[in-house]
Structure formats: C-alpha cells, structure tokens
C-alpha cells in the first residue's frame, strides 16, 4: 500500500492504494466519482474512459502508480459543471443515450477528438470512437451528436 496524491477534476486528492490498483476503482470506490464505469476490465469496451493530461485513457487497465504527481486527470464529472460542454448539449439534442451505461466513456472519448480536430469527417469519427462499445446500439446517434457539436449538423431541438 502506498499514498498517492492525484489531481482530478481540478482538485488534489490523497488516496491509499496498492500500486497495481486500476485507477478506475480508485476513482469510483474511493473518490466516489461514479460516472466512470466498469464494463470489461481489459480495456476493450471504453466505459471507463477518462482523460489523463488531455489524452483518452481506459482507466480499468491503468494502475494508480502510473498517474503520480503532476498528471491531470479528468472524469465525466469534470468535463463541465452543468452539462454545458458542447458534446453534452449535442448528446441531449440527439437524444443519444438509451441505457446510458457506456455514455460517459463515449463522451470522454469524443471530447479528445474535437480538441484536436474540431471538424472531423465521419470516418475520422468512426476511427476515433471504435474502441467504445455500446450494446444499445446508439452509434448512429453518437456520430450525429459529434457532428452537431462540431458544427457539421444543425443544432435543432428534438
């Protein structure tokens, strides 16, 4: 067991954990940030996607030991305070979620695409999002929402 200081959602937290503990479980069970989900534990589904220094990372396979001092972690709770991120607004407009379980991960994954490529093509969206599974099959609405957020589709109310 070791004590780690981590910077998450603009706050500094101290946690005690085994060095191999996946960051996912620290985020959820110790810090109580429940928006980041467990889906597979092997980096295959993307339900646990967070940002580490602005890069999308699957937190279920990232040991706490790898995010020491200075690394900036963002979870869905830190993306905006009030659902005001353009992707969150677009997700609501396109009525994307069904069961909703994978959607935090989807949005976190999509956010890093728009950071680097504000107007991605459809194939760039698919390529970037391919590691995030959705069992309800909301993929077409995810694409639509990303296009809305990128200004490629009109932001119309439902």
């Amino acid at each position: 067991m070791a004590i780690y200081t981590i910077h998450i959602n603009e706050e500094t937290k101290s946690v005690t954990a085994d060095e191999a503990t996946p960051l996912l479980w620290v985020i959820r069970e110790q810090l109580g940030l429940m928006g980041t989900k467990y889906g597979c534990g092997i980096g295959q589904c993307g339900a646990c996607t967070i940002h580490v220094n602005g890069i999308p990372v699957k937190s279920c396979t990232l040991p706490i030991d790898a995010v020491g001092d200075g690394q900036k972690i963002t979870t869905i709770e830190g993306l905006s305070e009030d659902n005001s991120h353009p992707l969150q607004k677009a997700w609501i407009t396109a009525q994307v979620p069904q069961c909703g379980y994978c959607q935090s991960g989807q949005i976190m994954q999509a956010a890093t695409l728009l950071e680097n490529n504000p107007t991605p093509s459809k194939s760039e969206i698919k390529q970037h999002m391919n590691g995030n599974l959705c069992r309800c099959g909301t993929y077409l609405r995810i694409i639509k929402a990303i296009e809305i957020a990128s200004g490629k589709k009109e932001l119309t109310t439902l």
Partner: protein, 719 residues
C-alpha cells in the same frame, strides 16, 4: 363502487393523490394528517401515481424498469396526457416494487410489474390513461366545489382548470390547499378520455427524462450506489453450469489480506473483502474442485450433427402450431423444399455486469437491496426464501439498468446479493460479477437447428410450411415460429428438445431471432426458385393481412425496391410480427469477396405498432435493435467445449463496433389509432433474414448458419 372514506393524503408540501386500484375499482381514503395517512396506506392496498406539490410541481411514479427503452418518459407521458399536466412541471420517480398495486393488468389474471417482451407501454397504456383521467377528475371536482359551479362547465389546459363562463382559472398547484374528494371516483368512460386528435404529449417527441443525467455521469445504476463502510462481494462459479464446489484451501483464504467472510453456495463460493480489488484477488486464490454436471463433455458445434439425426428421428415432438394438414399438402405438392438453418449461442453482453448492493440489519431481520432489475413479482419472495427474512421486511430499491436484454429478468444475482449481505449483518455488501463471470456463467440464447419444409402447387403457390426446431430451451425456442400474416393454408410448427445442461434465457427478441431468420430465408428461397420477386411473392402471401401488407409496401417504397442499384450492391427483405408490432425491413449490402466481410449500407423499416407514444424514442429502439441484430448476425458467437464457454470477455466475444454501422437506418411508423404494441424487439430479428436474402441476391448463394462470420461467408461463397 365502494368508497368508505374520502380525502387525500396531505403533507405540508402537497398532496399525494392516492388511488386504490384493486380490481379496477378506484377508492380514495381519508386521513387527518400524514401519520394517519401512512397508517391507512399500510392497511389498505393503495396506489399513488402522482404527487402534486403546492408549488405546482408534479411527481409521477413510473412502475416499470428503465433499461434504455424509455419507460421513464413514455409511461408518465401517458398519465400526464390524461391528467392534462404541464410537462414542464413534471418530474418522475420509480414507484415502489409492489406488483399488487403497481402491476399492469396485461398478464392474464394477475397484475404484474415486469419489464419484459416489449410490453411496458402496451400493457400500461389503458391503465395509465384511466388513472391520469381520474387525477384530472379530482382536480375538476375540487375547482367546481370551490367556485360552486357545475363540473361540466369546467375545462383544463396544461396544469390549469378553467371556468370559461365566469372567466375564472386556477392552477393545479393553487388547487392543492382547496382539494376536496368526490363521493366516489368512477371509472372514466372511454369516450370521456381525450380524443387522440387532441393529444399534446402522446405521439409528440418529448425529450427523455433520463438523458441529462446519463450525459453528465450522475445517473445511478446499482453499481453506483454508495453506503458508508461498504464491503465487496464476489463469487467464483463453476466453468460447467451448475457444478457444485468443494473449497480445498479455506484456511489459506481466510488468512488473506482484506478477507472478511466466506459464503458457500450450491454452485459457487462467495468471498467478501474490504475492497473491490481485494475481493477480486481473493476470488482468484480460491482452490475449488467441481462436480460433474449435465453439460460436462458437451461440445456446442458438434451438437448440430446429433440434432440433424433428431430432426428425422422418431423422438417426441411438441406441436406449437398446427393449421390444416401439412403432411397431406406435402404429399400432393408439385414441388417440395427442405432446408436446414443453424444458429450458435449468443450472450446478452449488457454493458453493466450483474451486481447488487444490500444491507441486512444487525439483528438479521431486515434487508434493503439496491438493484437494476427487469422486475418480477417474485423479487421479494426469492430473497425471502433464500434468506428466511420476512417478506414484509424486504425493501427493494430499483435503480437504472445498464442494459437488461432479458438477462436481468432472473433473480440469481439478486439472491446472491442478499445471501452475501446476510453473512455480514449491519454491513452493506456490493456484490459484483466480473465481465468474465457475466459471460461464462451467462444464460444464452439457445443454439438450435431448424428444419424447414415447404410445398408448392403447380402455379408456385405455397400450400404447406413446416418448421421443426431442435435444441434446448423449450419456449425460448418457440417464439416467432408462427406465420399468422402469410396466407399458407397448411402449417406445422414443432419443437424437439435435446437437453444440453447449458443455462439459457430470453435474449432480446427471444426465438424470433433464429426463427424469423429461417422463415424469411425459406420464403425468399422459394420465391427465387419460382422465379418470383421476393417482395411480390410476400405481397401475394399477405393479401388477407392488410396491416402487414402496408408495412411491406411502405418499406419497399422507402428502399426503392426494384430500382437499379449501384454495382455490387443488393437488397434483401424480411418481415415479422413481434409483441404485436408488424415490421418489414429491407437492407442494402455489399461484400468484400476477399475477406468475406459483408457491409450493410442502409436499413429501412416500416412498422405498424399502433399508437406510438414517443416516436423518436421508438425509432431509437429500432435503430439500436438493428445494430444489436447486426452485432449478433456478423460477430457474436459463443461456443462450448467440454461443457465450458470458450470465450471470456470482449476480446474474444466481439460486439459490433462503430466502424461497422450502416450509413443510415430509417424507420417509419404507419399511422394508427389502435392501442400501442411493443416495439423494443422488432428491429433485432429483422436483420439476419434481410441480410441473408440480400447476400443471395448478390451472390446466388445462401447463408444458413448464424453468425455470418467472414470465414463462414467465404466458405459459402467458395463452395
């Protein structure tokens, strides 16, 4: 009508409109204050559907599970429509889990709260319109008493009662302190319910209640509920379903860091630890010997050869459907057809692995459970039976489901949660399945072999159709075997059951997936063989089923059936009935002949599902259902070797990813004033038939074994 007492349950904040709905008779019960109200509620079966606050806020209680299908919005919309509530003032909460009072009447003699079979909207529609209208009646009555005017002179606008004659109006919120209860509330006759032409909520696209919290991460699934000092439970189950464990290193396990308790189950060993990672680590250290069971030695892919023998054997068969005389028609036929279809096991793969949270009181007499469940009247009885805790002392809190798909209609993980919590009274236990547990101890859609036989007369008309399903799972195999909308005079449908010992369960669309695949391919094959266009052939078969025919014509128009296609593209069609909904689907595909990969470019569906309460959401269900159908048709394959699942997680049990989505999925609903039908499962079983028929149009070859993996496609192509 027996109304002994009349009033509302009042609190300082507002009024709970409490309607006892036993046997369809509505009752209101009086009380002087909240304490006596609570006592009344306990004594008499009551149903509170709505809570009206003095500030006008309206809380409507949703009796169904929310697993992504949109019940959290659709059911309150139905209630709010008839109550004439201002939707902007509506919030929604789950009702208690109490079938007797919140169950829907669509289950024969019993009222049941159960979210299965796409039946939520269809079974609650009339009931919620009625109680919504009764709520409005109480508001009207109270305003009439207050103004001393005839109730018949009153009308409503959203959350507003109006007396046009005197120009008076009062909001629902302002009526709260003035509420009076009528002598009796009778059943509101159908002709006094809203004219569907006047609906302002039903049939309009109301944004879903649950979307915002599913976009900011705050939606609570059972796995997200936190209680102080929570312990974590995991269970090691056998690789052979049902195998009984003998733990051989208990002393060593008890000495491990973080260990709290061991729980021995019939089919597994549970461990409770102080952190989740410790629970996972201890689970891995368990040394268990397992008993041999029915599935020991079973090999799924070898089963087909045996099933083919059973198909022609003299063994017992269960007749599911029998119309006319198929055998006679077959004997007299100008031409006969016999074709076999196969489908491998598929796994639910709901994104949230099974889990639950429970706390048993220090004295062991009470239990409170948080769970995502498709509900059942047997939730509490299953817990009571397993834990010996009195039914009255079991509280079940329903959370959002991270997918249900049929898997969450079982009580196994609920009972496990309760049993683990019982081992450590006073401490909450979060019980979790790993993805590997969820997959390998899953309950699959059954593998089956389907033998289809058909006969035609000299003109090429279908005279007989027989469908024999060989497999395990009984009624799980049978759904969708009927062809009520095709005019075929002689039909026979039967099951031949071969037990395999593998756990099986309803999987979105149940038997419709494999059965509609086989039926729609068979129909197509006969059409082509008779030199007829597949849509024209179906059109002829549907002459006596105008609703079905309308979906066929509409889908054909949408897909521009018969018009020229881009090179190396082809279209295929399939039709089905599921949960009362009639759907025709058409897809357009192309094929990579080197890799064997099929690409679906477009999917069109036309559907008759009666009144559509939430059109955009219904369309979303079809979109998602088609994507899930594609996933099962192209990717998903669970195989059993020596009784054990060969796959373990999403690296070897692959789901469809975004790279493989079609360019478009378009869904149209045929206008209807019929009561709503279920739409949640209609999309999924359309895919296999439409794709296989398009493949045949493209290549002249027939895909007859699900899933259509690239290897299988190449094998068919090169055969």
């Amino acid at each position: 009508m027996n109304t002994s007492r009349r009033d509302f349950i009042k609190s300082s904040a507002g009024v709970a409109l409490v309607i006892g709905a036993t046997g369809g008779i509505t009752q209101l019960f009086s009380c002087q204050n909240a304490v006596t109200a609570a006592a009344q509620v306990k004594k008499i079966p009551l149903t509170a559907w709505v809570f009206l606050a003095a500030n006008g806020a309206i809380t409507i209680y949703n009796p169904a599970a929310e697993m992504g299908q949109g019940s959290m919005t659709a059911l309150p919309v139905i209630f709010a429509e008839e109550m004439d509530a201002d939707w902007n003032k509506v919030q929604v909460e789950f009702s208690p889990q109490d079938s007797e009072n919140y169950g829907s009447p669509g289950w024969g003699n019993r009222k049941i709260q159960m979210t299965v079979g796409s039946r939520t909207v269809s079974t609650y529609y009339n009931m919620l319109r009625q109680v919504g209208a009764q709520a409005r009646y109480v508001l009207l009555y109270s305003a009439a008493e207050h103004w001393q005017v005839p109730i018949a002179e009153l009308t409503t606008k959203p959350s507003l009662v109006i007396h046009e004659k005197s120009g008076q109006k009062i909001s629902y919120g302002d009526l709260v302190p003035l509420l009076k209860v009528p002598e009796s509330i009778v059943e509101i006759p159908d002709n006094q319910l809203k004219d569907p032409a006047d609906f302002r909520l039903i049939g309009k696209d109301i944004p879903r209640i649950d979307i915002a919290e599913k976009v900011d991460g705050s939606a609570k699934f059972a796995m997200d509920i936190q209680l102080p000092n929570t312990l974590y439970g995991m269970i090691e189950r056998g690789r052979i379903h049902g195998a009984k464990p003998t733990l051989t290193n208990e002393m060593a396990i008890r000495a491990l860091d973080g260990f709290v308790e061991l729980v021995v189950l019939d089919y597994g060993i549970g461990v409770i630890a102080n952190t989740i990672t410790k629970a996972m680590a201890i689970k891995k250290e368990l040394k268990i010997t397992w008993s041999k069971e029915k599935a020991t030695g079973f090999n799924s892919q070898a089963a087909y050869a045996n099933y083919a023998k059973v198909a022609v054997g003299k063994g017992e068969s269960k007749v599911v459907t029998n119309k006319g005389d198929f055998k006679k028609a077959y004997k007299k036929a100008a031409k006969t057809y016999t074709v076999d279809f196969k489908n491998d096991y598929v796994y639910h793969a709901q994104m949230e692995p099974l889990n639950g949270l429970a706390k048993v009181s220090e004295d062991g007499k009470n239990i409170e459970i948080w769970i995502g469940h498709q509900q059942s009247p047997s939730l509490q009885t299953a817990v009571s039976k397993a834990t010996a805790i009195d039914l009255a002392n079991i509280k079940v809190n329903l959370c959002y489901l991270g997918g249900g798909l049929g898997r969450r209609s079982m009580t196994d993980y609920l009972v496990e949660t309760a049993l683990l919590a019982k081992a450590v009274p006073g401490k909450p236990v979060k019980m979790m399945w790993t993805r590997e547990d969820d997959l390998q101890y899953g309950m699959y859609r059954p593998l089956s072999l389907q033998r289809l036989q058909a006969s035609t007369d000299a003109k090429g008309n279908l005279t007989g159709f027989a469908h024999t399903i060989i497999g395990d799972g009984d009624r799980l195999l049978a759904s969708g075997i009927n062809n009520d909308h095709y005019n075929i005079p002689n039909q026979l449908g039967e099951l031949k059951i071969v037990p395999a010992g593998i756990r099986l369960k309803h999987w979105r669309g149940v038997g419709h997936g494999p059965n509609k695949f086989a039926i729609e391919c068979m129909i197509d094959e006969i059409a082509i063989d008779q030199g007829k266009d597949p849509v024209a052939f179906r059109r002829q078969l549907m002459q006596d089923s105008p609703r079905a025919l309308a979906t066929l014509e509409k889908a054909a128009t949408m897909a521009k059936w018969g018009e020229a296609l881009p090179e190396k593209r082809a279209k295929g069609v399939a039709f089905l009935e599921r949960s009362g909904t009639l759907s025709t689907g058409i897809c357009e595909i192309s094929l990579d002949e080197t890799t064997g990969k099929i690409k679906v470019h477009h999917f069109w569906t036309a559907n008759d599902c009666g009144v559509v309460v939430q059109p955009d959401n219904a369309s979303a269900q079809l979109e998602g259902g088609i994507i899930m159908g594609m996933s099962s048709v192209f990717k998903e394959q669970l195989t059993i070797k020596d009784g054990q699942a060969e796959q373990s997680n999403f690296h070897d049990y692959q789901l469809l990813r975004m790279e493989d989505v079609p360019d478009s999925i378009e869904n149209v609903f045929i206008a209807s004033s019929e009561a709503p039908k279920g739409v949640g499962e209609s999309g999924t079983p359309l895919v296999a038939g439409a794709v296989a028929n398009a493949f045949a149009a493209l290549t002249g070859k027939r895909l007859r074994h699900l899933p259509f993996t690239p290897e299988r496609v190449l094998a068919v192509l090169n055969a």
